[in-house]
Symmetry: C2
Subunit: 259 residues, 2 copies
DNA sequence: CGATAAGTTGAACTGGCTCAAGTCATGTGG
DNA sequence: CCACATGACTTGAGCCAGTTCAACTTATCG
């Protein structure tokens, strides 16, 4: 019924030959398998060891735990080690609006940089762990290590293009496009992590997906049903199988790129 | 009929006592009235003079001219001096999707940082001018001037929160909310520039506004008509008057903040 | 095992879209 | 400088994708 969720992380680790398992809380940036997705890209060994010194490694969280809350003072950004997280804002009437989905290797919390206050909340969607990177120390280090500065500029730039892709996705209506684009996005992000791009578990509920994509949970459900009926995907609750990627890309009109 | 458009810039300049008019092409960052909105905030006199050295000042553009095109190599970011600009992407089928509206003092082009390639195009919506800031030189300078690095991190962070606000706006449907939020956003940005927050000229056509807000141009027009009928705004083509800000905020459900 | 949350499916409703016809503004060439 | 052409805007009417409300089934977890 849910064959590869438990495997997800374990599988990941068993294949790690040179690099240590990123779920081992004591692994340093230089050894972490996620290093190639995360901050350290483009740093040399010595630079990484400087980075290592400021990173607070391997705190664990369970489903529903907050990384930070809307309005909290901004101190750190967070690199996801394992599990998945959503970011959201609570609007005036208390309705929660999902603004992002983050997977291992991705970086969270940059919404606090401009005002020293987080613009939204971040919570774990399942058991997971993360590294905390104190921003002020990162700033100081960046001033001394140009390649780190450059890397972080590029990381923030990535967040900007990601948000803008999402913007165009939400503007050009069509529920099916949005759902298809989300599936393709998760698929390619899994691929980057050396996991199957064809089978994965959705970390969000239908309601969360709907909130993220600007449609109702019922519509999400109906779209899944329709895509199943066309044999484009197989849906077993949160377990997803992509059966016909190119058909799915056609539905998505290839938005939300493959990055 | 259009009393304050021509005044817009002139008025701006006539009030400038200590700071020189930003429409004067030779004005340096230290003297520019827009400095307090633009990059130089938080820099001291000497730091500003370093910045001045790398800024290519005061090029002019007329309506429809491109600042850069989607796919162009990324070299610089651009600070708007006068006029207004839109950013957009052309989707697979050639339909143009507006992703941003930029006014004087604001900074454009950060969508290119992550891939060294612009993710969208930017064109002038009216006659205007800008400063070009070569990014590589800015990076080098940032490594030497911590307050400039910090300033630029914060600027990028601002772009992120702005995009995310837009995201939540587009998810929570309701055409009236979107239009109201846009009007309030322009209003507060004008206020920051010491222009009237109550009277302004919309720089975009109905079609562009619609594309930006994810609704059709007809719907934009109808919303304007409805808001006029309720005496919340007065609309004379592109000339807008906000008659009842608090009513407008109620319609917008106060999204897209006042920043 | 039972309670509560998550997901599916149906039916009626509706906000915004599409298509269409018209007015108004802008600017270009005679 | 006017006339006309083109693009921008408005308004109406019908339609449809997605919403809402509701009833039901299926998972999850103490």
């Amino acid at each position: 019924m849910k064959p590869n969720y438990q495997l997800d992380v374990a599988d990941d680790c068993s294949r790690a030959v040179k690099r240590a398992c990123h779920t081992n809380p004591s692994v340093s940036c230089g050894d972490c398998r996620l290093g190639e997705l995360c901050l350290p890209i483009a740093l040399d060994a010595q630079e990484i060891s400087h980075l290592d010194e400021i990173v607070k490694r391997g705190r664990n969280l369970k489903k529903g735990d907050y990384l930070y809350r809307e309005g909290d003072e901004f101190n750190s950004i967070y690199a996801i080690r394992a599990g998945s997280f959503k970011t959201f804002k609570s609007s005036w009437d208390g309705v929660e609006q999902v603004t992002g989905l983050y997977l291992p290797g991705e970086i969270l919390g940059m919404d606090g940089i401009s005002n020293n206050r987080h613009g939204g909340s971040a919570v774990a969607l399942e058991t997971g762990s993360f590294c905390e990177i104190p921003f002020h120390q990162l700033e100081e280090l960046s001033a001394r290590i140009p390649s780190l500065q450059g890397r972080f500029f590029r990381l923030m730039g990535q967040e900007i293009v990601k948000d803008q892709q999402m913007l165009t996705l939400l503007s050009s209506n069509a529920a099916e496009e949005r759902v298809a684009a989300l599936l393709l996005s998760i698929s390619s992000r899994n691929h980057r992590r050396k996991l199957s791009p064809f089978n994965f578990r959705l970390p969000m509920t239908r309601a969360e997906i709907g909130s993220y994509l600007g449609i109702t949970l019922e519509t999400v459900s109906r779209v899944f049903s329709r895509l199943s009926k066309q044999n484009i995907v197989a849906v077993d609750n949160k377990e997803i199988q992509l059966l016909d990627i190119s058909a799915l890309k056609a539905v998505a009109k290839v938005k939300m790129g493959c990055s």
